[in-house]
Amino acid sequence: MAAENKVESEADEMPAAAAADPSAEQKERLIAAVKKEVKQLMEEAVTRKFVHEESGGVTALCGAVEACLGQGLRRRALGLFKTSSTTALLHKIAKHCPEAALVSARVLSAEGAPATRSASGVERRPSAPRPPLNKRGSGSLLSQTPTQSRYLWIRIALFERQLAKIIEHLVNNATRYYERDALVADPDYGSILSSLLVGPCALEYSKAKAPACFWSDPPADELVQRHRMSAGTTTPPSVRRPILNFRRSLNASSDDTSGSSAGSATVSSAKDYVESLHQNSRATLLYGKNNVRVQPKDVEEPMPGYLSLHQTAAGLVIKWTPNQLMNGYAESEGVDKSVYWAMSLQVCVWEVVYVHVHRARASDALILVGQDGVQRPPIHFPKGGHLLSFLSNLETGLLPHGQLDPPLWSQRGTGKVFGRGKSRRRPMPSLCESGETEETEWEDVAGDYVFRIVNNAIADREAMRHSLLERAVQSPPRTPRRPLASTSTTSSDSSTMSVDCPPSAIINGQPPLTPAQIPPIEQAASIELVCSTMRRQIISRAFYGWLAYCRHLSTVRTHLSGLVHPNIVPTDGTESGLTEEIWQSMMDENGAVHNGDEVYRLVYYGGVQQNIRRDVWPYLLGYYEFGSTSEQRSEQDAACRRQYETTMSEWLCVEAIVKQRDREATAASIARLTEAAGRATSSTVETGEVFEDDCSVISDNPPIVSPEPSEREQKPESKPVLSRAPSIDEVENIEMDSEEKGRNDSKVNGETDGTSDSKEHVDVDSLNDIDDDEVYIKSVVENPDMRRESIAEIKRLAEGIVQKGDGRGLLCSVDSGNMTLNGNDLKSSMEESQPPQQKHASVIITNPSVDLAASGSPASSGTTANVSPARSPLGVVREESHSAGASFDTLEPSGDARPDNRSNCVSPASSNGGVYSNELVETFALNLHRIEKDVQRCDRNYPFFTDENLDKLRNIMCTYVWEHLDTGYMQGMCDLAAPLLVTMREEAAAHALFSRLMLRAKDNFPTGQAMDAHFADMRSLIQILDCELYELMHAHGDYTHFYFCYRWFLLDFKRELLYQDVFAAWELIWAARHVASEHMVLFIALALLETYRDVILANSMDFTDIIKFFNEMAERHDASAVLSLARDLVLQVQTLIENK
């Protein structure tokens, strides 16, 4: 029966025959593939101006065309055996078709000399593989064919613009070459195919040696462009997707909610809708018919249109579109089509309970009655079995979840309701009375029928709950809904009165009773049953919906309540943000701004005007306090500047040392290189985790100690601190032992001390052998008074250092040999503190001069020249080298009090010497190199960053790092500091703001935990606010790491946006902390994702795709749109939480 049915429907002239027919489906697929390829190719042509001949799109199109041409080809009859029968076909038709002849000739010439190879016995395509492959010998055939020669003739035909005509020829002569049911032979499909190819034939193809990108994945720009082309009007995501979306993910409600929402969804765009009428990936077209008339509301006459039946994931959908809206309808442009849109129908079949069929002489009509009892306007089919066909398609489409009741043709083989054709099919008994079985006659029969659409899933559930379940056992099992209308004419009332059998009975599957058996009481009871069932359904649906919503909300509250502030701050008056006037008006006579909240509000919604950024940013970052007067602020500024200079001077000395070492290292390595026999370099110990930059340098160089020049006689006795510099091992050991050492006061006293002269001499010599470095000892010892003071000073220092607890700069200057001390107390302490040999540490007391000779000048108080930060440090060094060396007496910092042990050295602003441990120098050196590498590369394209300003940036970084030597410099810090410098222009201010910024930003770096928290929060947010995107991410697995957001969060989007936009974004983030959310970065990230969500979903991007996409889109975002979307998202979450 089924087979016959299919054959029958085949004979119909409808292009979209019953879905049960496999070859029709196949044809659908083939044509759809060609359409898709053509679409992509055309898009590519538009975005790239021309199409490369070897691009993937061309190959794909050729493949699709080949598949179409190959389907249903009469190979046997034509003797086309070889695998590329189409090429053979081409040669065959060359005789008849001039275009084909042309192409055929080209193909033959392009093939070269294939003949010899075919003798190998392996089947080869006439399109021969290129010569290089011959070397492979026989091997596997298919994998070797290079892409270029696949579908060779189709390619050539395409480039020669003959393909469309060739296909036309084939279509016109299809009967000769193709089976009857082939695609090409099909009158509709065939012409569709040839017309589809007219477009691609008109394109420009180029063999230009293009960079590889032309045949690789399209870049981000192109993806966005293509998306814009195909999407028509794009509605903002937050509008298009209401909060109701999440219901799908929770899935607690029944199918019906989704069904109803699909049914009630408004047409989002005309183009989408019309496209949806065709076969696409989301919906299968089961049935389509032109010239189906519907009389919508307010229209006098029925209008012709296109009726289609679609199978989607949600269920079956019946659509009717007026002809005026269909493609190709010839009408003048500019007619407002919206009225037609209102007339179009879209009905989800699950919503329909009854289908009334009225067959009259002139036409057949169908009326759909919804579950709410509403009738749709009648749908008039033209005569000729179309209605029947539609119903049978509907029936097949309903399976397996539902069915028509009564079925169009029953399982028992009693034939269709309407009965048709063949003699062995017999209609239902009830019809026998009225209708004949001949085809001709049933058409004349007027009659009305009613079918019920049964959803088995629902029916099952109902059956369970139905109170009449026990009754079902006794009650007459199946009452066919008799086609009442066999006796009466159309009357909707009577049809609604039709008796329905209890659902349970259907499931029991008992044989139908004849109508005569139905007792009247049963009828009444069944109606009541139906009503109560409906009531139950409605209630249960409402309940589940509500339950789902509640569950969802509690999830939201749990995940997201921490991310936003509960109060929603109003937006009135904030369109232009914080302008200069407003800012001025907010200041009182003392220059104090009191209304911090208002400032935050204005900035959050509107940003800060460019010319007052300098003034406002310190407030936003919390550097200035609201309510502070101008006086207070200028004091604060001055203090800050002083502080900055002080710190700078501190690290400048160390930098000098570092630079010196670097020069020596370079010299050494060059010397090494030029030596015939390379020196054995002291092998760097493999430290594993620590890739310190300059360890090798350090290992070669002993620490530098400046001379203590107060006494002339000290000079010859200046002693080296160490015989050799500590290697990394030793440094580590020092670290470990520092604590214990430090605790011992006496050890503290055992500071740098002399060794015997001879030893010193030896040491100096050896040192000189090693390097040109000079090593000095601070021979404080010689001068008792000095010594005492200096010892005290050192002690104080050391304690200070020790208190800091990280063991830097520990004093234990034990030499490898015997120590003879000049001072008693020192001696004893020295002897006590005889650490094992390898634990050498040293205190480096420096005068930033490294010149042995020049140290002679007596201990005048060291120059207290204030080192201005801007001068190059080397200059400082040179100056100082001639000055008197520092004695501890002079170690008073000028200006501010000694900085609070932030750094481990005492250094006056004069930078006249200080105490630097080796380790300190090393660490700073390491960071310095990193900073320099990064500063040089920072924002080079931005005109602000001249060399001078880059220097300023460097200074800021160095100062910060000097203050935070434990974390040190990490890549990315430069990027954070640069915009601050650009805005504030002044180093000290920028540095102050940068420190404030880093308070929060520090955790984003690998040393902190914040990044993981961000990723987790992103995951929750997306899960709740955009489940479709989330599902895509989940499907791709490693997506959920969200690493593509890493750079966003680390740099607060600085690299993703243009500079001007960076300012706006940062203002938003800072202001938001007080207004809406402390995690504004998350919402901006989410906004970025949402802006491109369609592109992401359409291209089904996986992890690598999305990284590539966003990296390419950097600095191309529409920042204001993204930022305002971010605010909307915050509002959305706030509303969700607020509404409970």
């Binding site: 089947e123 890739f691 300059d694 690598t1104």
Partner: protein
């Protein structure tokens, strides 16, 4: 839809910060050099499809941040990579020293049979050179890895390096395939049989057909 490539190789560029990984990558993928690059943060990748012995090989080359502290992210990307370029700077001794550490890193995190290659970059700066070519070669011999000195600026040996690495990976893959597949003769026969089945049984008609 036909793919535009035959195989996809995932490669990784690692090395200290500032040695020139991004420049090498840019030179290879875009054939350009820009002295004012910004430091790589996080991770990035570029693609280039090359022709290797007739096959289209798509190289997906990942560029990472050099500073070691970002390793928590980059370690995740060692997995799945088929080839790794270790880059050092000939004008920076320390970066050369660290190659050993990077190699150990690879051993800990990447698959055992990943193809490696050492590149000594910036070889155009002869006056600032700190590491001799011989030392580089010696290191490579010690680890049995290939070695080449490159200059992204002068476009010296960059293509050669990537092509070589890709070829090595391809050769290794093919060797593996051969080992796991049955010997060649049989596979050829398989193919023959398959195509036989597709062919309709020849009738007397076919013999007469003209093609």
């Amino acid at each position: 839809m036909a793919k535009t490539y035959d195989c996809l190789f995932k490669l990784l560029l690692i090395g200290d910060s500032g040695v020139g990984k991004t420049s090498i990558l840019f030179r290879f993928s875009e054939d350009a050099f820009n002295i004012s690059f910004i430091s790589t943060i996080g991770i990035d990748f570029k693609i280039r499809t090359i022709d290797l012995d007739g096959k289209k090989v798509k190289l997906q080359i990942w560029d990472t941040a050099g500073q070691e502290r970002f390793r928590t992210i980059t370690t995740a990307y060692y997995r799945g990579s088929m080839g790794i370029m270790l880059v050092y700077d000939v004008t920076n001794e320390k970066s050369f020293e660290n190659i050993k550490n990077w190699i150990r890193n690879i051993e800990e995190n990447a698959s055992a049979d990943v193809e490696k290659m050492i590149l000594g970059n910036k070889c155009d700066l002869d006056d600032k050179r700190q590491v001799s070519k011989e030392r580089g070669e010696q290191l490579a011999i010690d680890y049995q890895i290939k070695f080449v000195e490159t200059s992204a600026k002068d476009s010296l040996n960059v293509e050669y390096a990537f092509y070589t690495l890709a070829r090595d990976i391809k050769a290794k893959m093919e060797k593996k395939q051969e080992a796991s597949n049955p010997p060649g003769a049989r596979s050829g026969a398989h193919v023959l049989r398959a195509s036989d089945q597709q062919r309709k049984p020849p009738s007397w008609l076919s013999r007469c057909s003209l093609l």
